[in-house]
Amino acid sequence: MYNKIDFIIAGVGGQGTILASDILVEVGLHAGYDVKKSEVHGMSQRGGGVESQVRWGERVYSPLIEKGKADYLLGFEMLEAARWTEYLNPSSVVYVNRHKMYPPSVTTGQAEYPAETAIEHELSSRAGRYEWVDAMAAAKELGNPALAGVIMLGRLSADLDVEPETWLKVIAELVPAKLVELNKKAFITGRKMKKGV
C-alpha cells in the first residue's frame, strides 16, 4: 500500500477517459484504498478537452489533485497531455498515447500542432519518467481504436502492485458484455508494453 497515488487522465471528449477512470477508481477500491474521482461532463464532451482525476489513498479528502502533486499522468492524446505540466513533479510518471487529434485551429491551418519532440520535452523535463505508449496503433491492430484507453491502463497497471486479475475483473464488470474479451485482450497488450516484460 502506498500512502497516496494521484492519477490524471487527459484526453478528448469521446475517447473513453470516463470509462478508464471508472476502472481506475474501482481497482483502487478493490486494492483497499479510499478513493475519489472527479470528471467533466456536459459541453466539453463535444470534442473538447476532457480530464478525469482519480485519487487513491489511506484517506482522501479532495476529489481534485493539487498542482505539482500528480503521481501519474495518462495522456490519451498528445496535445491534451501537454496541458497538464503544472501538475507534475520530479517523481511523476507520464505515459502518453502516441496519437494526435487535431483541434479546429490546426485542421484549418491557423495554428500548428506541436512537434512530438516538443511535447515530450515539456513533459519529461518536469517529470521523473516519460514514456510514449503506442496504444492507438495497438488498438487499431485489435480492430477497435476505442480500446486505446484500456491499453493505456494496461501499461499503467504494470507499475502498480495490484494483481492483474483485479483489473480484469473490474474491466469485465464495467465494459459492455460483448466487448469484455476484447477489452481484456487490450489490457494485457498494454501491460506487456512495459519494457523488459
Binding site: 472527479s38 461532463h41 505539482g68 496535445l79 501537454a82 495554428a111
Partner: protein, 584 residues
Amino acid sequence: MKKLLTGNEAFAYGAYLAGVQLAAAYPGTPSTEIVKNCATYDTIFAEWSPNEKVSLDVATGAAYAGRRALCAMKHVGMNVAADSLFSASYTGVKGGLVIINADDPGMHSSQNEQDNRNYAKFARVPMLEPADSEEAKNFVGIALEMSEQYDTPVIIRTTTRLSHSRTLVEMDDSKRVIPSAETPAYERNIPKYVMVPANARRRHPVVEERLQKLAALAETIEINKIEPGDDEIGIITSGVIYQYAKEVFPTATILKLGMVWPLPKQMILDFAKRVKKLVIIEELDPIFEDFIRLLGLPCVGKEVYPIEGEFNPSLIREVSYKAGLLKEQPPTVSTADIELPIRPPMLCPGCGHRGLFYALKRLDATVFGDIGCYTLGASPPLAAMHTTTCMGAGFGVVHGVDKMGVTDRTVGLLGDSTFFHSGIHPMIDILYNSGTSTLVITDNRTTAMTGHQDNPGSGKTLLGEPAERMDIETVVRGLGAKRVDVVNPYEVDQVMKVVKEGIESGEPSVVIARYPCVLQTKEKHPVPTVDTETCNNCGTCLKIGCPPIVKGENHVAIDNILCNGCGLCVTVCPFNAIKKPEEQ
C-alpha cells in the same frame, strides 16, 4: 457494503431510501443524472418536465398530496422555477419536498455563475449542502424530515464537483422508508393553499416564525459540526470546499456547515471566540462572510478567496500562502513553454446543425440564438449565431429587434427541447402582437446538449414508456402560424430558400430544421473521398468547421475514423473534388 457513487447517483439513492414517490426535473448540467437515476427505482415516478418551473409545481403537488417528492435543477433552472419556490415557501407542504439545486462554479457548462444560496435566504427556506456522496445520500432524508416537520420546501445545494465526483457510499437498504401504498387523499385547506392577499398576509408571519425555528435548529443539528484542531486558525466552510480546506489546512479547527441557511449564530460566535483567526472559505458569494461580519466578528474572507471561478485545493493553497495563513510555500510549477492550440467543443461530425448554420452564414443572417448544442454554431469558422443568453430568449429577442425595424436578415433560433421549455411563449407573443420574425427550430428530436434526454417531441418518457410525440409543426400551426416549413438542414439550398422567403415575406414564419441527432441514431454513411488532383486547397470545405476535414500541404484530407459521412463537404465543394463513394 460500500459503493462508489457520483454525488448525483447518491442523491437518487437517498431519495429511494427516504421513500420519495415522485421526482421531476428538466435536464441541466450538472444536475441531470439526479432524476435520471431516480427513474431506475421502481418506487419512484420520475419525469422529465418541459421546464424547471413545471417540475417544481409537479413536485409541490405531490407534496401537497402528502407524499415525499423531489425536484432537481441546475442553478439557472432555479431562476425559471423561482416563482413557484417563493409560493411554496408560503404555502408550505404536507409530504416532504426537497429541491436539489446544482450550482456550476467555473461555468463548466453554463452561461453564468450564480450562488443559489441566495435563493434560500431570499425565499426564506432552509438549505443543506453535502460535502461528498455519502452526505448527499443522507442529506436527502434529513431534508425531507425537516420539510415535513417545519412545513417548508428544503433546498439541497450541490456543485459540479460534488455532483460529478465519485466517492464511497454505504449501501444499506435496511432502514428504507417504504412509501405508503394507499391512495392519498388531498386535504383541503383554503387559507393555507390559496395565496390571495388576505391569506398570504397571514402566511408571511408563519414563514418568518418558521425561519426563527430553523435558525434554532441550526444551532444543534448534527450536520453543523466543529472538527477540533489547532485553534490558531478556525475555518468556516461547507460542501466540497470543506474537502479542499482539509487538504490545505490539515490541522486547523474547522466549523463545517451542513446546513448553510439559516446560519447558527450562537455556534459561530462561540467558534470565533475559541479560535485566534477566523477564516471563511466559501466559493462564489460571501454569504457566510456577510452574516459573520454583521455579527461584528473580524474575519478573513473574500479579500483572499476570490468571488469568481471554481475553487480547487491548489488555488486555496496559493492564496492562503500569499495572505500569510500558511507558512509552507506551495510547489513551484509551470505551464508548457510551447504554444498549445486550444480545443474548444465543436458540433459533432454528421450533426444536422452544421448544414443549417452553413446556410444561415451563406445568407449572412443575423441570428438571435439560444442554448443547446446548436450554440456551437457561434464558434468559428461558422460564427453564425450572434446572441445567446438564457433558454427561450432567442425568439423574444428577435421580436424586439424586429419591432425596432432592423432589416439585416434577422432570424430567431432555438432547439426542440428549448422550444418546449420556453420557446412557445415568445412565439405566441410574435403571433399575437403582429410580429414579422423568422423563427428557426432545430429539431433533432432530443435534448442533446445535456446527454440526450427525451422531451415531448421525442415520443418517449423518462421511464422509457412510449408517449404521444408532440409534433412541433402541429403545435406551431395550432398557435396560428401560417407560414411553416419543415426542411432537412443538409439541403442547404432549400434551407436558404425558405429562410430567405420567410425574411422577405413580412409575416411571421417558422422553419423547422429536422434531422435526428447522429450521436443518438449512431447512423454512419460511407466516408467521401478527396480527389487530390482536383482539390486546390481553396478552403471552402474548411468553412463548415467539420473536425475530420484537415488542411494539408496541397489538398484537404478526411479522417476516416472521425467522419460520419454526412456529405456536407461534398455539397459545399465548389470544384467537385470531394465525392460521395458511390459517385466514384
